[in-house]
């Protein structure tokens, strides 16, 4: 894989409770030249990002160490015990320090109301599992979009140009059904390939 020597390595935080899927997403991201940190829960993700889950009794104060670990993108499974990927997305978008980090949701189930809900909450992409290399190749624009925004606000430094700009989901907004429970009684479909909602 051709890599430009001057390009910085972007850091992705991957969140999934499945060992297998963590292994897979890690490999997909590393193959695509990302630096990867994987965690197995939403609360561990927040901990890593420097935010504490307010329900935790043993919450410690945010250490400055955490703020040095820059995360350029969060990719999270939707269905996880405890904090779902949607809950994590909400917490990230509610946080002044984290809201600019692009968030991608992964799910094994193709449920339009779920997808819409995530996109409306600020998710940048929704990947249907199993995630493939072609999906991962769509992450860069979201990272660059955000990093360019930061560069405009900060000092002038050489950066990469955006080759494509992706738009947020707009258009038809279907009625969002309440699908908070992951083991809901919906007939799952076995899809032959990934569907990426842009």
């Amino acid at each position: 894989m051709a890599a430009v020597a001057t390009q910085p390595q972007f850091h992705v935080l991957a969140v999934d409770d499945s060992v297998l899927d963590r292994k897979l997403i890690e490999r997909l991201l590393k193959t695509s030249s990302y630096q990867v940190t994987t965690v197995d829960s939403g609360s561990k993700a927040l901990e890593f990002l420097g935010l504490q889950d307010e329900n935790r009794e043993d919450a410690v104060s945010v250490s400055s160490h955490n703020q040095e670990v820059e995360v350029n993108l969060i990719i999270t499974d939707y269905c996880m015990p405890g904090m779902t990927g949607y809950d994590l997305l909400k917490k990230v978008k509610e946080s002044t320090s984290l809201r600019d980090i692009p968030v991608v949701i992964m799910s094994s189930e193709n449920i339009p109301s779920r997808i819409n809900r995530c996109m409306e909450e600020g998710a940048d992409e929704f990947f249907l599992k199993p995630v493939q290399l072609s999906d991962v190749s769509r992450l860069k624009p979201h990272i660059l979009k955000k990093s360019t925004k930061c560069q405009d606000q900060n000092q002038n430094k050489s950066g990469t140009t955006i080759s494509s700009v992706t738009n947020n989901l707009s258009g038809n907004k279907r009625k969002a059904a309440d699908d908070g429970i992951c083991s809901e009684r919906i007939r799952p479909r076995y899809s032959g390939g990934p569907v990426t909602i842009v």
């Binding site: 997909l28 992951c182 032959g192 390939g193």
Partner: protein, 147 residues
């Protein structure tokens, strides 16, 4: 020299697994991810999958043996197994998982027992083929490293 023969054997095994839907396109995606920098990737993923599937099938068996079945828990485990079998490209196992979720949702204990038996059969067959695959790969590596 001798590794060529074993490579052919491995190839035949893989081709037949694809032809009979034991494996699908997703497995080919995994093969693409294994390269010089990560040579043990496939065997690691297969091992994780098989260990996890065994664990889940045992748990489901236990849940179904109870006088009152917690179908929600069973469904949650089947959902997990469906996820990991899809991730690894284990098509036939994934398809039976879908069937399983349907009988679960109908709270059909008999149906669940029958489908569990079916998943067991599919998984055992797949597991055997995976083990053969890994053995052949190990043999190939051992022979190639001697050159």
């Amino acid at each position: 020299m001798a590794s060529t023969q074993i490579k052919a054997q491995l190839n035949d095994l893989l081709n037949s697994m694809f032809a009979m839907d034991f494996l699908d396109e997703q497995f080919k995606q995994l093969q693409m991810l294994e390269d010089g920098s990560c040579p043990g990737f496939i065997s690691e993923v297969i091992t994780i999958f098989c260990d996890d599937a065994e664990r889940i099938l045992s748990l489901i068996t236990e849940l179904l043996s109870k006088p009152v079945v917690d179908f929600e828990k069973v469904d949650a485990y089947v959902h997990q197994l469906k996820g990991s079998s899809s991730s690894v490209g284990a098509k036939r196992v994934a398809l039976v998982c879908i069937k399983f979720r349907n009988v679960c949702q109908e709270n059909d204990k008999e149906g669940c027992m029958a489908t569990l038996y079916e998943i067991r059969r599919e998984f055992d067959e797949l597991n055997k083929k995976f083990r053969t695959m890994l053995q052949l790969e190990q043999q190939i590596q051992a022979l190639d490293s001697k050159r």
